[in-house]
């Protein structure tokens, strides 16, 4: 589903990703682990299409299509979803309004009819319960005054709502206590399925206790430096990243 080859990405002329190659099939969950500054967030932004991130070499193919050629909103409509590390606040726009606008924007780009307010509400309610997203949260302005856990739960709610084909979770565990982490992980796990691929980006092994990946890639200095099964996470937990990073220096 996602095929990244020899990807080089620069930000402000500085090269952050330096020849990253990665392949994920539908139905799989892959984890990207790595120390701070290794390029994890850059990878998530380049996949979502954030302005200011420039591909200088290599390619990203998503479902047989050149992902870089698509506008960010078109990527979303085609099933790319990024759960952000720092969900932004939009004052004055209720969460419900935002969800409805986003959902219908995606639908419209796919040539599907808009859902009316009742239709959206039903859909949201059905998904919100599992993630303990309350009606009261849906009425508040998007992410304004939300706790860290609430913000992350709302990200996963959006993932459940949009039903993406490729979900990227950028440091979804950051800022969560253990209960919140468990709730978010459960949400993610219920969304695992044969037609969906997930890329879980994390600094710590902790999240992978709950979301068990099919494969782990270690990112250091803009490149994949090690790969393995889920047991690799435990090894990293024990030995740290240093020995891997040294090898690529």
């Amino acid at each position: 589903m996602l095929d990244i080859r020899n990807l080089h990405v620069a930000v402000d002329g500085k090269e952050i990703l330096r020849g990253l190659t990665l392949r994920i099939e539908a139905g799989q969950v892959h984890a990207i682990m790595g120390p701070n500054g290794s390029g994890k967030s850059t990878l998530s932004y380049i996949l979502a299409g954030r302005a200011g991130y420039e591909i200088t070499e290599g390619s990203i193919t998503y479902d047989g299509e050149d992902l870089a050629a698509l506008a960010p909103e078109a990527r979303a409509a085609k099933g790319v979803f990024l759960a952000m590390q720092y969900p932004v606040e939009i004052p004055g726009v209720t969460t419900m309004t935002f969800l409805k606008t986003a959902l219908n924007s995606q639908r419209r780009q796919r040539g599907e009819p808009d859902l009316d307010a009742v239709g959206v509400l039903k859909l949201v309610r059905a998904k919100a319960k599992m993630l303990n997203v309350t009606e009261e949260m849906l009425k508040r302005a998007l992410n304004v005054g939300f706790s860290g856990g609430e913000k992350k739960r709302l990200e996963i709610l959006q993932m459940a709502l949009f039903e993406p084909r490729l979900a990227i979770l950028d440091e979804t565990d950051s800022g969560l206590d253990i209960d919140a982490l468990r709730l978010v992980a459960e949400g993610v796990n219920t969304l695992r399925g044969p037609s969906r691929a997930m890329l879980v980006i994390t600094h710590y092994q902790r999240l992978l206790d709950y979301i068990v990946p099919d494969r782990i890639h270690v990112l250091a200095r803009g490149r994949i430096v090690a790969e393995g099964g889920k047991e690799l996470a435990l090894e990293l937990e024990a030995r740290g990243y240093d020995h891997l990073v040294k090898d690529v220096a």
Binding site: A48, R50, A51, G92, F98, Q106, Q109, D114
Partner: protein, 483 residues
């Protein structure tokens, strides 16, 4: 459908930036070009006015000749040649219309394009529309229902003939003939406008609405509105404004006077969408407007809500004189300036009575190379014991070439006064935009969504059916303003 989505659909539908940029080809009757006592006499005669009205106008005109155009606002424009304009233009052949069927179908077609619900839609929306096309009111509906309630809602020209005592008693008592350059000019040459009188204890049974539209070229529009709410009454009034696209600048100098007696409340809402000029700053309406409300009675209340998205230049300060003890003044404003638009707008809250309260919520949005200024005065006089004011001025910048300015004047002559002023300036953040894009919301729609969120407190003040329209306008007027 969500606001932003609707906006997008709406924009796609019209396929061009200024939806109201059409010209209706109707034969116009005009006063000779230029401004003189003869022009004033011509207009007064055309209206069949009594002598006292003509004298009033001439007094204003003579006064105007001795006045100087104000230059303190933060707006720049070429000198206006007052002799190079027409001061009266009316669709030809307009004897009194008894019903809509008698109105020129082309006019009705224009109204249809404007989306004014003149027929059944009006009944559904519960809106009475007094449509002012250039200078003459051509269709007034819902008169009967209002008559039953005792509410007078008619063109001011008609009120001058039919209710001279009321007009004499109140006209010019809130905005005196001598008030300011543009108001004085208006007093001399106003061609029509709206008159509303709500009798004692009556809650006006529907929203009253007037649409203004400038159609003829090189014409100024000088409408005059006078609204009186007698003791214990309530009225909500909305004006919407549009004008066709033209290369030359057109002058609009209106005067609105509101009088609220004991326990009365007036809610006055404006959605102003005059032609703003093109992307290069060519053309557009010069909007120099004097709006003032007098809370004359005890515990009276006047609330201004404005959504200003149009005009090349906006010079407008809807104000409240809080004369009656315990009276309340409110000002809710959204001012959007894009491309080369200049807006200098705000309010004056004059606290004269004891226990008077005022609230100012201003949202200024600047994009392109526009300049947007909030200018406000809060003044507490010596006898205004326990006066209170709360002011909040928020500015939002889109792009790096525009400007936002806040100029608050605060005066207090009473130590018991409590005055609060809060101001913020922010930019639409790149991360907000990216967040929307990444969730599938295209850029223009994202801007519209964020800006509508920013304006929410003010939009909420508008009557329901107009709030939706205003939300769309916010989106349309900022289309393409980001990257």
């Amino acid at each position: 459908m969500s606001i932003a989505a609707e906006t997008k659909a709406h924009v796609a539908e019209i396929g061009e930036k200024y939806k109201y940029g059409f010209v209706t080809d109707i034969e116009m009757e005009r006063a000779p070009k230029g401004l003189s006592e003869d022009t004033v006499r011509y207009i007064s005669a055309k209206k069949g006015e009594p002598d006292w009205m003509l004298e009033w106008r001439l007094g204003a005109f003579r006064r105007w000749l001795s006045m100087k155009e104000p230059d303190w606002a933060r707006v720049q424009y070429p000198k206006i040649d007052y002799q190079d304009a027409y001061y009266y233009a009316a669709p030809k052949n307009t004897p009194k219309k008894q019903s809509l069927d008698e109105v020129d179908p082309k006019l009705l077609e224009t109204y249809k394009k404007l989306g004014i619900p003149l027929h059944e839609q009006m009944a559904l929306a519960g809106v009475a529309v007094d449509a002012v096309f250039d200078s003459v009111s051509v269709a007034t509906t819902f008169k009967e229902k209002l008559n039953e309630a005792g509410v007078i809602f008619c063109p001011i020209s008609e009120a001058i003939r039919d209710y001279p005592d009321l007009v004499k008693k109140y006209l010019g008592t809130v905005v005196p003939v001598t008030d300011n350059y543009f108001a004085t000019l208006n007093s001399a040459v106003f061609s029509d406008g709206t008159f509303v009188f709500v009798p004692k204890g009556v809650r006006c049974p529907m929203e009253l609405s007037t649409y203004f539209r400038i159609n003829a070229s090189e014409t100024g529009q000088f409408e005059r509105t006078l609204i009186i709410a007698d003791e214990g009454s309530y009225v909500s009034y909305l004006e919407g404004c549009t004008a066709p696209k033209r290369d030359e600048n057109q002058l609009h100098a209106a005067v609105v006077e509101l009088v609220a007696l004991d326990d009365a409340e007036i809610k006055y809402s404006t959605v102003q969408n005059w032609y703003p000029g093109d992307e290069n700053g060519l053309g557009g309406i010069f909007n120099f407007v004097t709006k003032r409300g007098d809370c004359r009675g005890r515990k009276s209340k006047i609330s201004w809500t404005q959504v200003e998205t149009g005009s090349a230049i906006t010079w407008k300060y809807p104000s409240c004189i809080l004369r009656g003890d315990g009276s309340v003044g409110e000002f809710y404003s959204i001012a959007i300036a894009n491309n080369f638009q200049q807006a200098d707008t705000g309010t004056k809250m004059i606290h004269l009575g004891a226990n008077t309260r005022s609230r100012i919520i201003s949202k200024g949005i600047s994009a392109g190379r526009a300049q947007n200024t909030y200018r406000g005065l809060v003044s507490v006089y010596g006898k205004a014991k326990n006066a209170r004011n709360y002011t909040q001025c928020d500015s939002l910048l889109i792009g790096g070439d525009c400007g936002a300015h806040t100029v608050p004047y605060i005066e207090s002559r009473n130590p018991t006064a409590r005055i609060e002023h809060e101001a913020t300036t922010s930019k639409i953040a790149e991360d907000q935009l990216f967040y929307c894009l990444a969730r599938g919301i295209p850029q223009d729609e994202a801007v519209s969504l964020i800006v509508n969120g920013f304006c929410k407190e003010v939009l909420q003040q508008l009557p329901m059916e107009f709030a939706v329209e205003a939300q769309k306008l916010v989106g349309i007027s900022l289309e393409g303003s980001v990257g």
